[in-house]
Each structure stands twice: as structure tokens, then as C-alpha cells.
Amino acid sequence: MKDTTDPAVPIIRVRNLRRDFKVGARGRGRGVLRAVNDASFDVMPGETLGVVGESGSGKSTIGRMLVGLLPASGGEIELFGETITGPLGKRALARVRHRLQFVFQDPHAAMNPRMRISDIIAEPIDIQGGWSRKARADRVSELLDLVGLSAQFADRFPHEFSGGQRQRIVIARALALDPDFIVCDEAVAALDVSMQAQVINLLMDLQDRLGLSYLFIAHDLAVVRAVSTRIAVLYAGEIVELSGKSALYEDPRHPYTQALLAAIPRPEVGVRKPPIRGEVPSMLNRPAGCALCPRCPSAFDRCKTEAPALREVAPGHSVACHLYDGA
């Protein structure tokens, strides 16, 4: 199947993706929270699309919808040519499931504490079925080796490993069926700096060796810069800027992206710009205009009433902001 992948055709196509959550305790008013609104993007073979945003930006929700952990409320997701949203989505997902995987944030919660490492890594194999014992055991050793762990760990239990080692095991499990696309949801956020670098390097090595594509979700802009080819910046459930890596960091257009970059603590001593004010609003009562408007230093009248659409301002660089409407 892998051979059929055309480098110019996206393996993932997302169009107008939307996700609503019902919120509110029972016996009180219920509201609808739009966690993801009108998101559209592609992922090309072999690339890493970084998705950055603060808490509540909807970044994890997108990742979960892509692998079928959450149903979409609207819009379309196409994986390897199969549309997994809509009435026939379940069947379609079953056909491409072996080509998708997910790596979680918390390596402590990502493994069943009562299972051996070999059974954890081989779980996708066991679910798929049809493997001989020998083939299964060989594959487990091969996978452990691939992520830089000794094959003698196979019989151990998760609690015997450190955070960095656990994350390697989680990655090994994700690779079990030789997928083409992996969603990494804050995959290094829970790790210490020295472990974080090891795991990032591992992910990038694996990408080079196996031709993987990643959707790399993170809140840390520096980490995203290190791993991504292209980057989508999310704010309040919407993609506000989507561009190639260098353009985004060297020439950020959206006021929110600019604020995020300015907020990163840096050792340089000197006068800093005052940080952007306010916090991410509750998406329960989404304002009519641009979601950033109440916090935005450049907001003008139109921002209050009209939500900006994502449009291309330079080749491969799109921004959702009224400042660039003239351009």
C-alpha cells in the first residue's frame, strides 16, 4: 500500500472540520461549546504538520478526530482517500486504521499497568490478528530495537521504566503495524528537557527511516519549530495562521502568533514588549466577530462584528485576520 503513496497528493485532507461539545452540569443550563470551528488543512506524505495553541484551542480535539477517537460534528476528514466522516465513515476508518497511530502526552497513562511490555507493544498486532507467535515475538524485538531499547525489556511491566523509556515504548506500539501517519499529542510535554530532546530526535530519525507523516500537537513553539515542516496556529478552535515553518517564525502575520512568539521567555536581558492581555475566552459564548478581538492590540471596528476567514497572504502562508484583507 505504501508504494502507492504519491508525494504530491495529501494523505490527509481535512475540510471545514467542526466539533461541538454539550456542556453544563445536569439540572442547569446546557450550552454548546464549539471546540473546533471550520478547520481545513492537508498533510502531505513524509511531512510534519505542527499544530500549536494554548489550552482550549481545540488542538487535541482535532488530533482525536483524525484517528476516530472522537466523531466530528461537521465537515469532512479524508484519510488515504477514504472519507471517515459521515454515514459510511466507520467502515472507511476500519479500512485505513492500520495506517494511523497516536502517541499520547502522558507516558504513565498510555500503558496498561497490568500488561507486559511485549503485550503492550503487540496490542495492535493482536487486534489485527493473523500473526504467528514467532512473527509476533520477532516484531516486538524489532520494534524495541527501532526505538533504542533492549529486547530483553519485553517481559517487564511499565512501572519499571522511566518517563523517557515509557514514551519510547509507546512509540514502539504506534509503529507495530508500520503506519504511515502518526498523531503526536503533546508527545514530549510531560518529559524533562534532557528526555524531551532524546524523544524528539527519535521521532525525527524514525520519520527519515520510515517515511512517516506526523501531526505534531504541542503548546511549546520551540518544540514545534524543531520538528515541523509546516505549522498551523490555533486560537479558540480556529486556525488563525497556517504556513511553512520558517515563514511563520521569521515573519508571523497574525497578531496572536506574534503575541505567542513574544511571550516565550528568553535569556536575553533587555526591555520586553508587554505581553498580550487577557486569557482565552470561554468558547461557550463565541463573540460575533474575531475571537481574538477583545485581546488584540490591533483590533478595529470590523473585528467586532465580522469573523475573518483564512486566506492566503503569500504563497503557502495563510492568515485569518482583517489586517491583511487589503493585501
Binding site: 486504521r97 497511530q101 499520547f104 499497568p113 497490568r114 487486534i127 531499547l149 533492549s150 530483553q152 532524546q198
Partner: protein, 298 residues
């Protein structure tokens, strides 16, 4: 990439990891004072119940009119009752019935509660209906529900077991459901879902094994409650029918003579207390070691 060193914790354990894990757990349990005391008490009671024919005269229902109301002595160490039956023998044989009822109803309640709780936690659509039914059952104090069910089924050992089990199913179900709701949100369940695992695999391989700690802890507490409840039911005359001895009905029979022949009711009462005490101690130890966050509730 040179992370491939053997972790020190494992390096020190010469056994296979699974066995080592169990051994560590057992060692921690055994170091727990209450667990140790409770285990010893229960073990002694169970062994005595099993060895009843060897330790006593072996005839719990044999009457001996000459020995009526015999006080505790060398011949009758716990005394004799109004029919001259040996109380010691009756208490030992009563232990068999009382412990069996407690054990069987606790196990049944745990199994039923686990199934209901897991179903409720996994199939969210069923949750509302199941939990309303459980709420309705919980509306009755366990002893009342047991009385009602037992009244309906008639006075036999099996109906006491069913009645007590049914009375504790909703409580067990709530505990399992609460634990399962936490586990189902964990990443390893999502990992299994991403790989296309069936509901059965997720529930029985991932969720159930990780809900066992609260289940086992509440199982012990329910065992203690069930022993007490069985005694209360027997005392009210709706337990296992006489002349078969159970701890509760020995007390009930001795009640009329409680002032003159106090020994009839004193010793079975002590036996109940000791059995419940042992179980509760055991449960406290299990809770502290297996599931320290669990509140005492069952």
C-alpha cells in the same frame, strides 16, 4: 539513544517480573499490621469451621435433655442450650453456614456489581437507565431489601445468599462504575481504540483488571456486612431455618434465656464479632495497600 540500560529496580529482582511484583505486594500487605491480624483471625475461624467434626462432638443438632442449660464447663466449654445441645459444636457448625453465606453473597454481589458497573461505565447510553434502577435499589437499606427478597423467596440458605447479594449489587456497581469511568478516560484505553479494539477486549483486558483494587477492597467489606446481615436476618427468623445452626439463629434461640443462660447467646455473638472484625481488619489492610484513595463505602 543510550537509554538502554537495565532499570535498577528490575536489576535487583532475580525473579520473573510478574512474580516479583506479586511478591512485593504480598510483602507490603504482610507488613501491614491490620492485614496481618485480620488474616490470622479469619484463617483461624475458617480452619476451625472446616475442622468442626474433629474439634467438636460432631452433632450440632443432637439434643441431650440431661444437659439442658448446662453452663460452660469442661464437658461443654461454651455450655449447652435449652435442648441440651452443645453450644461449642453449634457455633462451629454455624460458622460453616454463616461464612458460606457471607462469602457467597459477597462474591455474587461483586460479580453482579462488576458486570453492571462496567456496562454502565462503558455503554453511556445505558448508564442513565441502569443507574436509575440502581438508585431505586439503593433507596432501600440493604437489610430491608434482603428482608423483602428473602420473604419472597422463602427461608432457605440459597435465598439468604441471593437476597444479600442483590442488596449489595447496587453498591458494588457504583464503586466499579466510578473506578471504570476513571480508567476509561485513560490513554491506554484510547490507544486500544485507535488500534480498533473491540468493546469486549477493552472492557475485560484494560478496564476490569484496573478496577480490581477497589472491587477487592469493597468485596471484603461486603463480606463483613453480609455476615452481620445474615445474623440479623436469622435473628429475625427469616434466615436459614432451624434446627440447622447459624450464628444468628443460635442467638435468636438463646435470647429468651439471655439472663439465666447468657452463654447461649454470648458465644455466637462473639464469633460474629470476631469474624466481622477480622474481615474489616483485612479490608483496611487491603485498602491501604491496594487503593489508598478509596473511601470506606459499600
Amino acid at each position: 539513544m543510550t537509554d538502554a540500560t537495565v532499570p535498577p529496580a528490575a536489576a535487583r529482582a532475580p525473579l520473573s517480573p510478574g512474580a516479583a511484583r506479586r511478591r512485593i505486594l504480598m510483602r507490603r500487605l504482610w507488613r501491614h499490621r491490620s492485614f496481618r491480624l485480620g488474616a490470622v483471625i479469619l484463617l483461624v475461624i475458617v480452619l476451625m469451621a472446616l475442622a468442626a467434626p474433629l474439634l467438636s462432638n460432631g452433632e450440632p443438632t443432637k439434643m441431650n435433655l440431661r444437659a439442658r442449660f448446662a453452663p460452660p464447663s469442661a464437658d461443654f466449654i461454651f455450655g449447652a442450650d435449652n435442648f441440651g445441645r452443645d453450644i461449642f459444636t453449634r457455633v462451629l457448625y454455624g460458622a460453616r453456614i454463616s461464612l458460606w453465606i457471607g462469602f457467597a453473597s459477597a462474591m455474587l454481589a461483586a460479580a453482579g456489581g462488576a458486570l453492571v458497573g462496567l456496562a454502565s461505565a462503558w455503554y453511556r447510553r445505558l448508564d442513565g437507565v441502569i443507574m436509575r434502577i440502581m438508585d431505586a435499589l439503593l433507596a432501600f437499606p440493604a437489610i430491608l431489601l434482603a428482608i423483602g427478597i428473602n420473604a419472597a423467596l422463602g427461608p432457605q440458605v440459597s435465598s439468604v445468599i441471593i437476597a444479600l447479594a442483590a442488596a449489595y449489587v447496587p453498591r458494588m456497581a457504583r464503586i466499579v462504575r466510578a473506578a471504570a469511568l476513571v480508567v476509561r478516560e485513560l490513554d491506554y484505553v484510547d490507544a486500544a481504540r485507535v488500534s480498533g479494539a473491540s468493546a469486549g477486549r477493552i472492557i475485560f483486558r484494560h478496564i476490569l483488571p484496573n478496577c480490581l483494587a477497589p472491587l477487592i477492597v469493597s468485596l471484603t467489606f461486603v463480606f463483613a456486612y453480609a455476615i452481620l446481615a445474615e445474623a440479623a436476618l436469622s435473628f429475625l427468623g427469616i434466615g436459614p431455618p432451624p434446627p440447622q445452626p447459624s450464628w444468628g439463629n443460635i442467638i435468636a434461640e438463646g435470647r429468651d434465656y439471655s439472663v439465666e443462660a447468657w452463654w447461649i447467646m454470648l458465644f455466637p455473638g462473639l464469633a460474629i464479632s470476631l469474624a466481622a472484625l477480622g474481615t474489616n481488619l483485612l479490608g483496611d489492610g487491603l485498602r491501604d495497600v491496594l487503593d489508598p484513595r478509596l473511601k470506606i463505602e459499600a
